[in-house]
């Protein structure tokens, strides 16, 4: 009962991706957020992933402190790190976005880890993710779901 209710709520959140969602750009304050994408999932048991590019056009540093999304009960910032050839992905308490620089959450590095999925992420759809910045505040970005074998955002590198 609760599950189907949640699934119903989740479905309302997933939108068929309009062409724009693939390359949606959102700016807030001095930040430009672009190329938000994720990979399709098989069912809901496995965690999904979230990648995005953040450009800080300002002269003050900012910091990404967390993410939120209606599609996952436990979204978290992670960083894939290699220690003596062993890959692990510890929680990143925050990600620094220095003034004048571009930081990407990208395969093999920082990523959003979307755990406790409420629904399957399907290729071609999109869902919102809210990025929480220390200075710029919360910014919501539409995230394109790409095939499981996607390597990068469909719109290529952000400016």
């Amino acid at each position: 009962m609760l599950k189907s209710l949640l699934a119903g709520m989740g479905l309302a959140v997933m939108l068929p991706a309009v062409a724009l969602a693939d390359c949606a750009e959102v700016s807030q304050g001095q930040l430009l957020i672009s190329a938000a994408w994720s990979r399709a999932t098989i069912g809901t048991a496995r965690p999904a992933v979230f990648y995005v590019t953040i450009r800080n056009n300002g002269s003050t540093d900012d910091r990404l402190t967390g993410i939120e999304t209606p599609v996952a009960g436990m979204p978290m910032l992670h960083e894939t790190v290699m220690t003596d050839g062993v890959a692990s992905m510890p929680h990143a308490s925050d990600i620094s976005i220095p003034a004048g620089q571009t930081v990407s959450l990208a395969p093999g590095g920082y990523h959003g880890m979307l755990m406790d999925l409420e629904e399957e992420l399907k290729d071609g759809e999109s869902f919102p993710v809210t990025l929480k910045f220390e200075n710029a505040g919360p910014v919501s970005v539409e995230t394109a779901v790409l095939p499981l074998r996607a390597r990068e955002a469909a719109c290529g590198d952000a400016p």
């Binding site: 992933v49 050839g85 062993v86 890959a87 692990s88 930081v103 093999g108 095939p147 074998r149």
Partner: protein
């Protein structure tokens, strides 16, 4: 893309380091593959012929290391609950195979799961159907997987999560074996295809 630049430059650095070590090994009379293997992994039995483990493939066939002797093989460890590193490794391997062209037909490619609890042959088959069909998934009972993990001397750590779920830390390198079963080299996670593909070609050569 600052991050990409950072990754690329560290790859360059690692490759340069690898080259220097290889040259050093050559000078000291050791074979480069021995030196590299010792550096990246303490792999004990750098020879498939002397390993003893048995696993089940994603199409339910029993596999032992001796089955791989006679053909060059590429082996890596991962698990299908891993959303970042494992798809990346699978996609990198696809890219290497594509760059190799017809030569790739002489290479057997295997993913050994480090998460036998969740990765049954059926789960592996379902997951891998999204990737390059030339990649075979292998799993087994927890004991069988532990034996293989020990033979390749890879590190596997089960990391519990707050919500009772868990994730796995694991060695991310890709092992290359020659047709005679000897370890040829190890490809690093972030290695550029420019360096990875020649390593595979080297493993494909019968005479090392």
């Amino acid at each position: 893309m600052r991050r990409r630049t950072l990754i690329l430059s560290s790859v360059g650095l690692l490759s340069a380091l690898g080259f220097m070590l290889a040259v050093g090994a050559w000078r000291s009379g050791d074979l480069p593959w021995q030196q590299e293997a010792a550096l990246v992994s303490g792999i004990r039995a750098a020879d498939l012929g002397s390993m003893s483990w048995q696993l089940t493939s994603h199409d339910n066939e029993r596999v032992s290391p001796q089955d791989w002797v006679g053909e060059a093989s590429l082996v890596f460890f991962g698990f299908t609950w891993c959303p970042d590193v494992c798809p990346m490794t699978l996609l990198n391997i696809s890219e290497w195979l594509d760059k190799l062209g017809p030569e790739a037909d002489r290479l057997a490619v295997h993913l050994v799961t480090v998460d036998p609890e969740r990765d049954s042959p059926e789960v592996l088959a379902d997951y891998l159907s999204n990737f390059d069909p030339r990649i075979t998934g292998l799993t087994g009972t927890p004991d069988e997987v532990a034996r293989a993990v020990e033979a390749f001397d890879v590190t596997v750590r089960r990391v519990p999560r707050k919500d009772g779920d868990y994730t796995m830390d694991h060695t991310a390198g890709v092992f290359l074996f020659r047709p005679d079963g000897r370890l040829s080299s190890i490809i690093d996670l972030h290695e550029d295809p420019q360096f990875a593909v020649p390593k595979i070609r080297q493993a494909l050569e019968r005479e090392g």
